[in-house]
Structures are given as structure tokens and as C-alpha cells.
Amino acid sequence: MVVLASLVLFVALHLVPGDPARRLLGNQASQQQVAIKRHELGLDQPVLEQYWHWLKGVVTGDLGTSYGGDSVGQLVSNAFPVTLQLAVYALLLALVLSVLLAAIAVRRPGGAVDTTITVVSSLSASIPSFVWGLTFILLFSLTVRWLPSSGYVSPLEDPEAAVKSLVLPVVALSLPGIGTLARILRASMLDALAQPHAQFARSKGLAMQRLYLVHALKASAVPFVAAAGAEFAYILGDAVVVEYLFAIPGMGKLMIDSYGDREYPIILGVALVYTVLVVIGTAISDAVSSRVDPRVREAALA
């Protein structure tokens, strides 16, 4: 499946107009020099042959060399932790805050607090993350100037600067997720609380804390975890735009830059890693679902 996807992408990329060799040499080079460069890069070979060459490399763990002469494996492994950090922090923030909001909202359904939370979460879910990002830059970088408008610092290098550089993009990425997840969780918790067993527990005098946090939450876990898995894929997608907006050197920015440079080997490398990442994310979400819900586990075994 992955091989087929990569073949389609490979052929499609080579059909894109614009010559990587010309891009590399700039406007001043002659057509003759461009031809020399094309030969040097192997771009004059048939596309399927180039693909075969690339695939052989990938199977042996070699993502090849970019037209600019960088190791694609190196570029991707530099960018990967950056994107992973962004996505994981954003997902964690979304999980924590959505559980919190939903748990507060279901205490008095229809009350002022619940209504406020519903409005706020609808709003945060319906505004895309790049709009949040732009708004944050305007507010926090240009108006009050607390946080940087762009750039990335590794936490290993300078933890304080790293947190500063990540706050805005992570919050921007997580906001749509917070809204979506909080709404899903609120609805399914209310469903769970309306179930006879919850009514019974309540009439027995079970502590409210325990009722909400253990019973209602646990019953809502399956749709919630599934939604969180999907949310991770969305966050990865949004991260492409957010990385571009904040000039964060993650995989999304690498991919967009590489498209502009017609760096097909890098685009292919990044696409491969994205595919694997989404597959892993889905697998984790499935595994968690089957842990919290025996029915899912049994269905998987059957």
C-alpha cells in the first residue's frame, strides 16, 4: 500500500512542470548547463527507472540525497522531532483541556457555565489553527511583544527559549482540537449520565466526583479516544500550515520549501514518514480503545 502510494506520488511529482536542475542553477545558467546538471542528478533517466532506484534505497533504509546534495534521511530526522513535539504537545494540551472543560460543563447541563463552555468550544473548533496563529502573532508578538513571532529552539539547547518558541504554535494547533474533543466528550458524558446505571449510582449516593470522573468518563472513553486519534491526524495536517506561519523547521515546512525548490527526493522522504506517523497514531488509538473497552478487544480478536 505504502509502495503504491509512493509510486503514484513519485510519478505525479515528475509530471509537475518546473525543472529541479534549472531551479538549482538559477536564471543565469545556460540550457546546456541545465542539461549537464540534469544528467548529473539522473533526471534524464526514465521516471520508472528513477523510481526503482529510489525504492531500492528506501528498502535498505536510505532515503537518498537531495538535488542540493543533502542527505534526505538527515534532513527528515532533523525535522521529525520538531513536528512530533509540536503535534504531541498540542494533542496533550487538547486532551487535558477538553476533559477539564467537558467535566465542568456536565456538572450543570444547560447552566450558564455549560452554555459558556459550549459557545467557547464551538468557537475554538470552528476557527482554523492558522487563523489562531495569525491572531496570536498580532497579539503576543506585535502588540504586547511577550513571545517570538517565529523560529524554533531545541529544548536541549535552551529550555526557556524553547518553551517561548513553542507556546504560540502549540496553542494555535490545539485550540480546534480542544473545541472538538470537549464537545464530543460533553455529549457522550451526558449520555452516560442519563443511563439507568448512572441514575442508580446517583440515587445510591455515590460521590459526584467519582461518578463523573470514573463512570461517565470511562463510558465516554471509546468515542473520545477514537476522536483523539483522528484529531492527531488533523493536528499533523494543520502543523504544515502552522510550521510555515511560525517558520518552524519541521517536516511540514520542509515539505513546502521542498516543493518550491522542486526537491522531489525530500518530498518523498517526508511523505513516507507522514504516512508511517499517521498509521502509528491510528494504531495507538485502536490499542487504547481496546484496552478501555472489552467489546472492541473482543471484536478485534474475533
Binding site: 512542470p17 518546473g18 525543472d19 529541479p20 534549472r22 531551479r23 538549482l24 542553477l25 538559477g26 536564471n27 543565469q28 545558467a29 545556460s30 540550457q31 548547463q33 541545465v34 549537464i36 546538471k37 548529473e40 542540493g68 546534495g69 543533502d70 534532513l75 532533523n78 525535522a79 487535558v96 477539564l100 467535566a103 465542568i104 456538572r107 502573532i137 508578538s141 506585535l142 511583544r145 511577550w146 513571545l147 517570538p148 513571532s149 517565529s150 523560529g151 524554533y152 526557556e160 518553551v163 517561548k164 507556546v167 459526584m208 466526583q209 463523573y212 470522573l213 510555515y244 506561519l245 517558520a247 523547521p249 515546512k253 520542509l254 513546502i256 520549501d257 518550491g260 525548490d261 522542486r262
Partner: protein
């Protein structure tokens, strides 16, 4: 539950406040320059484009330099003689070393010139050094260049990337990887290049110009687009930028922490239309002239260029010494355009890069007024450039920005000579070719200027490229910086900037 909520909120606030705390104070010993494009390579012999030119100017030295008024100055070449029109004897500055410790000598210069000239190589500068026949090393500090024909632009050509000297040891050890680890003799040494993020340089303590540079560290930060770049400048993440885009000038001017300066375009700063002279309908010079006369350049400069430009009359910009008022303006004259068309209706296709979408709409409506229907086709830059050199277009919106092409011949031969570096229009003209040859064979600058004025007038009659406007050079920098931040060629040389 309430306690959990309170604690969580408190935690978030604490993290947020901690993140926002801190600040930077003290004297500026580092400077960050914002660019909106990333170079493909930093091997001076092979790279082109504004971002590469800006970083190269810190890492490498050129053999010659060109001063504010276009006058030639010594660079790595301390003195030179021209015993005959085709022979240059160069004497190098003694005691200069590369960042890797190896000496800069005549052999190193020869290695570089031969590398650029290599007919099997892919240096975009090869064409400008083509008149060199041989390079001979006479002594460690002396070498002789013998030319196949008189070529007066040579010293100015050697003031561009074509005349930058890369460490031969680095070329030998790194091969093509020298493009990622530049080693020169310049005021700044290369430290690292994080792709998609920045290039970091550090002061070269052994730099041959005494007392320079004063700023210890330099960072060139790559933004995704011009707006982000200016946001970073205003928020203080960078201290200056490669250029301020016209639509953001008013925004930058409002900032009291920034100095804004602008000057007219120098050398080669022009927005133009490439015309495919090999295929109908554009192969008809009357149609090309009609198109040129139909465009209201003044209005375009005021509206879409935000007044930060001037109407163009030639491919040479006002900063070039061969630019002259004797070349008439390309006047807005829809009546003449209609007359040239003689009642015909024409339909043309214009390929447009993202940068010039608005400008193209203005051209489209201008053309409609004289009865020319223009279909706009949007393409991204790589596709546009590829189509241009393959002749796969009718009309293309293009620009020539940033690269300091000091000698007028670099621009004029580039566009008008059949083998010219910028000639994607398939153009050739015997009169223009004769004038180009006369220009390079003449040493006296005043005489050359007259030749080039005649050439520019002739070009207005046949218009293989239609000049539209000259964008100004606009730059803004932190008030904490002083020195020469906007020289005539538009490049920042950090050696001339103080923190």
C-alpha cells in the same frame, strides 16, 4: 473537581508567565538579518540569487570592488595593470588567509577562475568569464589573465560572485559539499546552516581590513514569506532584512525602534515582461510596441507598487552608469497602441508568478482598453523560469532583482545577446549585437555610455523584453545599528555595520 480545575489553570498561568519572562539587554554583539528566501548553495562560484549574494558578501571577498558611484576599487587584488587591451596583470594583497588557515595566493585565484570557466561545469557565471583565454600564475602574488578579445567589463565582473575566491583546500576536501560549508577569506566565518531555519556566521578575527568587523556574530534567518519576515523585524527577532516589500513600507515606518531608508534601484532592479520573439503573435514587433504603449506605468507605480518604484525605460536601472535621460521614457500612449494595431484585435497569454498577480491584472485592464485580450496564467517561480528558458510562453511577468550586475554589459548582453544568460525570448538583432561588441571592446567609460544609449534606444524599437518599473531599494533596521546599511548595490556588508 473544582480543585483540579483551579490547579490546572494555575499551572497553565505559571508556565505562560515563566515563558514570557526574561528579556534581552546589554550591547549588541550579534545581529540577525531576515530573508524571505533560502539559498540553494553558498558556493560563490555556483550560486545566484539575492539570499546567496547577501550571505556570500560576508563570507567571501571579491577580487575587485565597485564603489558607491560605480568606480572600481581594489579588493583581494591590490593593484593591476593592463599592458594591452587583452592582458590584465593582477597583484594580490599579501598575507590574506582563508578561514581554514591556507594562504590566498595566485594559485588559489587561478583554481577559482578555472573552476567558474570550466566548459563542462555548471557555474552560472561561466558566461561572464568566457572572454578569458588563459590564467597564468607568475608568482605567489601575481597572475596574468589573457583574453581572447578586448573585454572592458572584466574587472566589474570580478567584483561579483564570479570574482569571489573559495578556499581551494575546501573545494578539494569537500567537493560539492562546499556549497553547504562555505570557506572564504571574508569578514565572517561560516558556523552552521540549519536548513529551513538559519545560517550562522562568526567574526573572522584575522580579517585583513583592520578594525573590521565589529559585530561578533551574524545570523541570517529564513522566513516563510515577506510578511513573516517583517513581523520578525518589528517584534525584534531580527535587526534588519534583505528588503522591505512595498506593501509593508508604511507599517515599518510607523515603528520608532526602526530606521527606514529607501533609494532608487541600482544596477539591475527591474520588473519586466518577457516577450517570445520566436512565435506569433508576439513575434510581431508592432504588437510588442503596442503592448508597451498601452501600459500606464505611472499609474502602476502609484497603485500596486505603492509609490516605491519609478517607471522603467530600459533594462538598465537608474543606478547604472549607462542609464541616461537621453533614452526617452516609455510613454503611456493608448492612442499610439491602437494605431500600431491598425484596428486588429489580438489575444495574448501572460504567465504570471505569485509576486506579480496584482500587476498582471493592471496590465490586463490596460491592454483591454486598446483591444488586446490578455489571458492570465498563474505559475509558481520554478515553472515560470523553466518555461521561459524553454521558450514555452507568449509573455511572462518577470523581475531581475538583487544580483549586483555592476557592468551594463552584464545586463544588456544577458538579455539581448543570442547566448545571453537572461535571453529566453529567442531574440537576436544585428544592430544590437554590433553595439554590444563595440561596448565591450571600448575601454573609455564615456564612449561606452554613448554606445549603450544608442543600444537602449534601439531596444525600445524592438522590445524583446518590455521594462515596466524599477522597484526602489527599501530597507529598515534597528536603531541600535549604525553604519552603511543600504549601499548603492543594495547588499548589506556587515563589516561596515556597527552594533
Amino acid at each position: 473537581m473544582r480543585r483540579l480545575a483551579t490547579i490546572s489553570l494555575l499551572f497553565i498561568v505559571v508556565v505562560f508567565v515563566a515563558a514570557c519572562g526574561g528579556g534581552n539587554g546589554g550591547q549588541r554583539d550579534s545581529v540577525a538579518v531576515g530573508l524571505d528566501s533560502e539559498p540553494e548553495s553558498l558556493d560563490a562560484s555556483y550560486d545566484t540569487g539575492l539570499s546567496a549574494a547577501l550571505i556570500d558578501a560576508q563570507v567571501y571577498d571579491t577580487l575587485f570592488r565597485v564603489g558607491e558611484n560605480g568606480q572600481l576599487q581594489p579588493g583581494l587584488v591590490q593593484s593591476w595593470k593592463q599592458p594591452s587591451p587583452t592582458v590584465y596583470r593582477l597583484t594580490l594583497r599579501p598575507g590574506v588567509t582563508f578561514h581554514d588557515g591556507t594562504p590566498l595566493n595566485a594559485q588559489a585565484v587561478k583554481t577559482n577562475l578555472d573552476r567558474v570557466r570550466d566548459p563542462k561545469g555548471t557555474s552560472p557565471w561561466a558566461g561572464s568569464l568566457a572572454p578569458i583565454k588563459t590564467v597564468t600564475v607568475d608568482s605567489p602574488t601575481q597572475l596574468t589573465l589573457t583574453l581572447s578579445r578586448p573585454y572592458s567589463p572584466l574587472p566589474s565582473v570580478l567584483a561579483t560572485q564570479a570574482g569571489m575566491v573559495v578556499s581551494p583546500q575546501a573545494i578539494k576536501q569537500l567537493g560539492q559539499k562546499v556549497a553547504r560549508h562555505p570557506v572564504g577569506t571574508g569578514p565572517y566565518k561560516f558556523v552552521r546552516w540549519t536548513k529551513g531555519q538559519d545560517v550562522v556566521l562568526v567574526k573572522n578575527p584575522a580579517y585583513w581590513e583592520k578594525g573590521k568587523p565589529t559585530i561578533k556574530q551574524a545570523r541570517f534567518a529564513f522566513s516563510s514569506d515577506p510578511t513573516t519576515k517583517i513581523t520578525d523585524l518589528i517584534s525584534g527577532r531580527t535587526q534588519t532584512v534583505d528588503y522591505v516589500p512595498a506593501n509593508l513600507i508604511s507599517r515599518v515606518k510607523r515603528e520608532s525602534s526602526l530606521t527606514y531608508k529607501s533609494r532608487p534601484a541600482s544596477y539591475a532592479n527591474v520588473v519586466w515582461l518577457g516577450m517570445n520573439t520566436t512565435k506569433p503573435p508576439i513575434s510581431d514587433p508592432a504588437l510588442r510596441q503596442a503592448i508597451s504603449a498601452a501600459i500606464d506605468r505611472e499609474a502602476m507605480v502609484k497603485s500596486v507598487a505603492f509609490g516605491a518604484a519609478s517607471p522603467a525605460r530600459s533594462m538598465l536601472s537608474p543606478g547604472s552608469w549607462a542609464y541616461s535621460d537621453q533614452v526617452p521614457p516609455l510613454a503611456y500612449n493608448p492612442g499610439r497602441a491602437k494605431q500600431l494595431l491598425g484596428g486588429r484585435k489580438a489575444t495574448v497569454e501572460i504567465k504570471v508568478p505569485p509576486t506579480y498577480k496584482q500587476q498582471a491584472q493592471v496590465v490586463k485592464s490596460d491592454l483591454a482598453k486598446v483591444g488586446i485580450t490578455a489571458n492570465i496564467v498563474n505559475e509558481d517561480w520554478p515553472q515560470l523560469i523553466d518555461d521561459y528558458y524553454k521558450g514555452n510562453f507568449q509573455i511572462e511577468f518577470q523581475d531581475l532583482l538583487g544580483t549586483p550586475l555592476f557592468d551594463p554589459d552584464m545586463v544588456l548582453s544577458g538579455f539581448y545577446s543570442p547566448k545571453g544568460a537572461f535571453n529566453g525570448t529567442g531574440f537576436s538583432d544585428p544592430t544590437i549585437q554590433r553595439l554590444l561588441n563595440e561596448g565591450t571592446a571600448t575601454a573609455d567609460r564615456d564612449k561606452r555610455k554613448q554606445i549603450y544609449i544608442e543600444l537602449q534606444k534601439r531596444a525600445q524599437e524592438i522590445l524583446p523584453t518590455v521594462p515596466i518599473y524599477y522597484p526602489d531599494n527599501n530597507r529598515a533596521w534597528s536603531t541600535s545599528l549604525s553604519g552603511d546599511l543600504l549601499p548603492n548595490d543594495g547588499l548589506i556588508r556587515l563589516a561596515n555595520v556597527n552594533g
